[in-house]
């Protein structure tokens, strides 16, 4: 029942590759992952960028891994997410224009 509910929610339905919905879903997924990483406090580990360990509570390898995860998600959320959203908007506008054109050029009865 619960599974059916989630499946019916449009946002979770599998979209066609590189369609507007697909791009928005990817943007949403990146944003959620970044939010999780941010709330989990991974930002502190980015001090590896200057050669300082982010926290003395975890070992250097784990700290570096967590920093890399955070940095990649951050860059994806400020660079990739807006590009995905903009591209999705462009596709929506494009599709509407195409549809309008098709309607205008279709047979008149």
């Amino acid at each position: 029942m619960i599974k059916l509910f989630w499946q019916r929610l449009a946002v979770f339905q599998r979209a066609e590759f590189l369609s507007a919905r697909d791009l928005l879903q990817r943007a949403g997924a990146i944003s959620v992952l970044f939010l999780v990483a941010h709330v989990a406090g991974l930002r502190e580990f980015t001090s590896v960028l200057n050669g300082t360990v982010g926290s003395t509570a975890v070992n250097v390898k784990l700290g570096t891994f967590l920093a890399a995860v955070y940095i990649l998600l951050y860059l994806a959320s400020v660079i990739l997410v807006p590009v995905l959203v903009l591209a999705a908007l462009m596709l929506v506008v494009w599709q509407r224009c195409v549809r309008k054109e098709e309607n205008f050029s279709g047979p008149r009865t």
């Binding site: 590759f17 930002r43 400020v78 807006p82 462009m90």
Partner: protein
Amino acid sequence: MKRILTGLAALVVAAIIWLPCLHLLFIRPLSEFRQDPGLSSKARQLAARHLQLWTEPALREQELKKMRASNAEWDFMGRSYLVWSLANMALRDPPSKPLYLQTMDQIIDETRRLEKQEGMYFFLMPYAKERHYLVQPAHSLFLDGEIALMLAARRVVEEKPEYKPLLTERVNVIVERFQKSPRMLLESYPDECWMFDHCVALDAIKMADYLDGSDHSALIRGWIAMAKQKLVHRDSGLLISSFTTDGTPMAGPEGSSIWMVAHSLQLLDEDFARDQYQRARKELGEITLGFGYAHEWPESWKGEANIDSGPIIPGFEISAGSSGMAFIGAGTFGDGKFLTSLAATLDFAAFPSRTGGRLKYCASNQVGDAALLYATTLGPLWQKVKTGGKP
């Protein structure tokens, strides 16, 4: 197939639109970073974080432990930059002077105590112990110069009689060694001399002259003439970073050094300082898509990433160390365009974290943030000494 091509085309067009606009999310008015007169909001927030570190020993211990695990020098330099910043802040914000002076004294006293108790190697990297200093008894110009400048900065803000003999003693040691050295080059590490440390030490001597009426202007002039002749990289015209006691270059011109060197030289020789800044700006400074950053080396010099340069981001060859120090150069010489773009990069890529009016940069550390604080506040200390008004 058509859908995929349309999707890819939309992505390319969106990227072309977004990337040049990205910096607009992070660009702020210059007055948020540096404000004349007074203190900018960023300076106040950064300072609040540092003052907290000096009122909460457990927090300070934690920060220092993280830094010392990588480099004991950073512990020391974090103290120096903070004291120099607080001196400028006290001159910019007289009502808060008592708090700033109290913190400066606390840092100076604790630093001197640690130096005395643990020895000078406490603030040096481990390789300092691997060889003997050529000039005995061993002294590091790195420590002597920065401690002298801390003492002098404190006294310029407000005289503290206990610090007068301490400054005189440090300055005398440095001057005596300069006079005995055939090439006027003093060791920071065994047979390893640094431009940065020489310029800071000469600033301390200049300030001691201002405070106590001594006159070492001939020494300062002589040293600068020597540096222009023997310590300049021919292709770039920039001062080299490190050399042996006989003047043999060890490292070439480096961004992690030259921006602060240009700032230090401003107190000693304004024209030469500006020349070095302009060369560094041309050879090392970059602004791409509205974001400012700096390289560690000019194109005419090849170097390896090290503890000072920080990691080098390939492709753009961005050096974290050089980019951080570039704030000091740009702030000193009023290069608003470069400073604004550097500040945009800082907010984009250094992961600012604000809590209760306190600011730190997660990708930085205490010494990095202290150097940034210095960039937001520098000016009044040099100005007071240069204009020659009575202390």
